[in-house]
Amino acid sequence: MDTQQTLERAETILQAIASQFTRPAPERLDAAVAAAQLPAAVEALTRAKFGYLSAITGLDHPPAAPKAGEAAGPGRVEALYHFCEGAAVVTLRVAVPYDAARIPSIYHLIPSATLFERELGEMLGITVEGTPVPDHLLLPENWPEGVYPLRKSFTGKIEAPPAS
């Protein structure tokens, strides 16, 4: 089966679950999936023996700078689940707002996903609900709560105390 056929097969598998499909590159299919639908989307792919989960990327979408007099818009974080088969890469894209940054775990379907899920949690502040051991994978135990290094708002710099 060539790459185009593979991508079409994935689209068919995800037809009823994804809300939008795009083809950002000849070998890639992106499928927007609501957080609540993520386990169903992953199950559809694994049941159809489509590829393997290669990686989970986390993206920060901070709110755009507000116009004068307006409040800032909502910020979102997005998790991209990349499934590879041959040269084809099918990416499930799940976006959640900062104030409800929760995504269900897919550990029960793909056990090795837990390492990727832990990284999403500590680096971008997405709570992956149901991942068995949600301890920090990379960050030290004493890393401050609520500080997510891969969010754009984290600069690694401490505010200088005001000059007295």
């Binding site: 290669s54 990686a55 993206l59 041959g86 793909i110 090795s112 390492l115 994978l137 960050l139």
Partner: protein, 396 residues
């Protein structure tokens, strides 16, 4: 299935040595629960060499980011730089010239040779087979000398630019490479024979750490570990990049799924490396080494997958149209393979753990790691050296 937790047993307090200890080369922490000799559970804590490179590149321009990314790994630096360069070139809408692509593959295969020989020595050492360790590392000096002559460096070759490569290959270097490869090919034939016939070594590897094809697929294993369980997965074959379409490699698999199979697959892959290296030297395409790329890459997202010595390396790049990357996500192959070992470990003997861990060729290699062995009577912290010695003596 869980060991009983001790009741009023007095705990032994053993001051932990690390993981951040001055003597440790690359730390990691494993926690292994045992019931007698048998492992009942295993978890890992990583991150001791976490350097924040993904965040770091957001503050560097596209050119400078190359220097950070190629230092993610000392053993497979070139393949990181290649994945990044290809991804950035996708964003820029350019392709590196054919000669540059061929040189990228040449260096990548030389890197695979050094990496597999390094691993052979390390894995032999973990199993107490120090003679094999010494010989393989002596022989590895041949490819290290080649890499130094070609690139100027034994480690971190810095061969890539966005748009091409920094150096060419001349006839004198080509001859040195050919002679070195001839020597290494003879030595590899010998090593393949040793790992499949040495009885003492086979007791540590045959039938140990077996992972079925189904398990390998379910656990998301990649690279030689997956191929040793019969999974036909290799990015160079599945999704050829750089010059792999012009210089294809054959997929090397084994059905054994055990540690012995992992040795055999890596040795056989070396023969493929030697063959492809010779082919590239014989048919190096003429032409430029670079194509021009502007300092700002157009906005967009790109995915780049390459086959590192340990398995699939996955890069996701995002540009917001500026001089710096907006986001670069790097998923290294070892992260996939850790999960496989941690899930497989229960049911195995504690004495098999050092070899099982070495068998996945973890990205930190040949060094002290901290291991917590939790027995019924309380937890102890062992150094890696002690765990390794335990395995050697068990099989003596």
């Amino acid at each position: 299935m869980e060991s009983q937790t001790p009741q009023a047993t007095p705990k032994k307090f053993i001051v932990p040595i690390g993981p951040q200890h001055p003597a440790l080369k690359e730390p990691g922490h494993f926690e292994i629960q045992v019931d007698g000799e048998i492992v009942t559970s295993a978890t890992a804590r990583l991150g001791y060499v976490h350097r924040g490179i993904e965040k770091g590149v957001e503050g560097q321009n596209w050119t400078a980011s190359m220097y950070l990314l190629e230092r993610i790994c000392g053993i497979c630096s070139h393949v990181h730089a290649t994945a990044y360069a290809i991804g950035a070139e996708k964003l820029a809408g350019v392709t590196a010239p054919p000669r540059a692509q061929a040189i990228r593959v040449l260096v990548a295969e030389l890197e695979r040779v050094h990496s597999h020989l390094l691993w052979l020595g390390v894995a032999a050492h973990e199993g107490g087979f120090d003679t094999l360790f010494m010989y393989s590392w002596r022989d590895r000096e041949t490819v290290m000398d080649i890499l130094e002559a070609l690139t100027g460096n034994r480690v971190n070759y810095s061969a890539n630019l966005i748009g091409g490569v920094k150096f060419d290959v001349d006839d004198k270097q080509a001859d040195q490479i050919r002679r070195g490869i001839d020597f290494l090919e003879e030595r590899t034939k010998h090593y393949l024979e040793v790992v499949t016939t040495d009885e003492t070594f086979l007791r540590r590897t045959r039938g140990v750490g077996t992972m079925t094809r189904e398990q390998a697929e379910e656990l998301g294993a990649v690279g030689p570990v997956a191929r040793a369980s019969g999974v036909p997965r290799d990015v160079r074959v599945d999704a050829p990049y750089a010059a792999y379409e012009q210089f294809p490699v054959k997929l090397v698999t084994d059905t054994g799924g055990d540690l012995e199979a992992r040795f055999v697959v890596r040795m056989k892959e070396l023969f493929e490396c030697y063959r492809v290296i010779r082919e590239i030297l014989d048919k190096l395409p003429p032409g430029d080494l670079t194509v021009k790329v502007k300092p700002r890459l157009p906005a967009g997202e790109a995915i780049s997958r390459v086959e590192a010595p340990r398995g699939e390396l996955f890069y996701f790049l995002k540009s917001a149209g500026g001089t710096n990357p907006d986001r670069i996500k790097v998923r290294t192959p070892s992260l996939c393979n850790w999960a496989s070992v941690l899930v497989l470990a229960p049911g195995h003997k504690l004495a098999d753990i050092p070899m099982m861990l070495a068998g996945i060729d973890p990205c930190f290699s040949c060094n002290d790691r901290l291991v917590t062995i939790a027995r019924r009577a309380g937890a102890e912290t062992w150094t890696w050296a002690r765990l390794r010695q335990y395995g050697i003596e068990y099989y003596r």
